[in-house]
């Protein structure tokens, strides 16, 4: 594996290898005072963020540092992008400066793929840390790691993905990954927040995809509820009448959470809009796996860096 650009087309065996490695890393580091492994000593990881982010950037930074890689953070606001440098020139500069891996977040869908094509002739790997409304593969992998911990396996499980599917790269990456591992995914959203042609999304052969507009009808049979963030920064126009109305129809309140089976898990990729997408009581309940997702994020990203950077140099 040279790049990690998305979960669409990600071979399930590779995804499983990443998840197993993440699990192994978690066990290896459990209870250790010094969480540092020498595995990627001498490798350089550059995180290049054209959008604001706390958890993803910090998670990649910690992951790189725990593997002993040198991690350099670049954010668009303080880089030459502000002076008008193109993404291509920035990428070539980073590769020429000696980056073994560029972790990129960009508001444009497809940016990570373009970056990978520009860097095809170099040894630099690209990890997509979120491109526009397209994909966010490490988020889907960490969600999968969390679901595996909580539910054992996702095969045959029903996962409800709730909220702003239209603008959500998390939803797209999760649909590909979850269905390829045999989960039945139901997208629950108002019609205005569903992409056109959603029914034709490519789905992993082992699972299924369905669309629903009624959250209450889906909750009693859901093994996991994945709440999405309402991405106001990507909304140019009215997608729903008011935050209150959205909350009443699609927010995960305490009353709604009570409709879930006892074993059901609640996930949220963060940052949460408490009171609108999810009530504070549900977010802080034992059912919620939100901080567990963040913790797993570090191990999953360590595993991704390990698979990209530790193997044979000329291995594809």
């Amino acid at each position: 594996m040279k790049h990690l650009l998305g979960t669409e087309g990600l071979d399930p065996a590779t995804a499983l290898a990443i998840l197993d490695t993440a699990d192994g890393l978690k066990r290896t580091l459990l209870g250790r005072e010094v969480k540092k492994l020498p595995t990627l000593r001498g490798r350089t990881v550059i995180t290049c963020f054209y959008e604001d982010s706390t958890r993803t950037r910090v998670s990649f930074e910690i992951a790189g540092k725990w593997m002993s890689a040198d991690v350099v953070n670049v954010s668009a606001g303080s880089s030459s992008a502000k002076k008008g440098e193109s993404l291509r020139d920035t990428a070539l500069t980073l590769a020429a400066a000696g980056a073994d891996c560029v972790v990129v977040r960009h508001p444009a869908s497809g940016a990570a793929h373009r970056l990978a094509s520009w860097l095809a002739h170099t040894n630099t790997s690209v990890v997509n840390a979120g491109d526009g409304t397209h994909e966010h593969p490490t988020q889907a992998l960490l969600d999968m790691a969390t679901l595996r911990e909580r539910l054992g396996s996702v095969e045959g499980r029903r996962i409800a993905v709730v909220g702003d599917v239209l603008h959500s790269r998390v939803a797209r990456s999760n649909v590909h990954l979850l269905t390829s591992f045999g989960a039945d995914v139901v997208l629950v959203a108002p019609p205005t927040l569903l992409p056109t042609g959603v029914a034709d999304w490519p789905v992993g052969s082992a699972g299924s995809l369905r669309v629903s507009h009624h959250l209450d009808a889906e909750l009693p049979t859901a093994d996991a509820v994945m709440m999405l963030r309402v991405q106001a920064e990507r909304m140019h126009g009215g997608f729903f009448p008011s935050a209150r109305e959205y909350s009443i129809a699609y927010g995960l309140s305490e009353a709604r959470a009570a409709m879930l089976p006892d074993h059901a898990v609640v996930l949220h990729p963060g940052p949460m809009l408490r009171g609108m997408e999810i009530s504070a009581a549900v977010a802080d309940s034992p059912r919620a796996a939100i901080t567990q997702q963040v913790a797993n994020g570090v191990h999953v990203r360590m595993a991704v860096l390990y698979h990209l950077l530790a193997g044979e140099e000329d291995a594809a």
């Binding site: 290898a17 197993d20 490695t21 192994g24 890393l25 066990r27 290896t28 250790r32 010094v34 540092k36 492994l37 020498p38 595995t39 390990y306 698979h307 530790a310 193997g311 044979e312 140099e313 291995a315």
Partner: protein, 196 residues
Amino acid sequence: MPPRPRGAPEPAERRELLSAGDVARTIARMAHQVIEKTSLGASGARPVVLLGIPTRGAPLATRLATRIADFSEVQVPVGTLDVTLYRDDLRRKPTRPLGQTALPPGGIEDALVILVDDVLFSGRTIRAALDALRDVGRPRAVQLAVLVDRGHRELPIRADYVGKNVPTARSEEVHALFTETDGRDAVLLHRTGEGA
């Protein structure tokens, strides 16, 4: 496949160095050596911990502990120590899956840790194991037990307990097999052909 008569030659490219019976006897002898060298069971003896290096060091460590218990009635704690993340050849080979590190409940602080591996070759696995060990605790001393020492060391490392010394050519490969991982006990020598 019918068992090969004792002493009959294996095909040139694959020779059995140790049979299942030889493996059992060798492990028993190593157990005696460990008991003697560490004064196990004697009053005032310091705690001993066996740490097997996955994959095949792990069953070997367990077997060694069983034999030690048979002979000395001392239950030696057994764990595993994965060294993958500490290897210095990661970039030369395809990505390796991780093994399992599981320390015994008492940990390894101030214990005499005996690292256990199936085949000792360049010594790089053991160097990685010493690095890994440093990250999980501070043993009082570290010793090394191997079923086969095939030579060709690239680092100044030697084993304290050796089941069998086997002079080999670099082009040859030595494989230790255990029932737990391979369905049978044996040590095999493979000739890969080139430069043999």
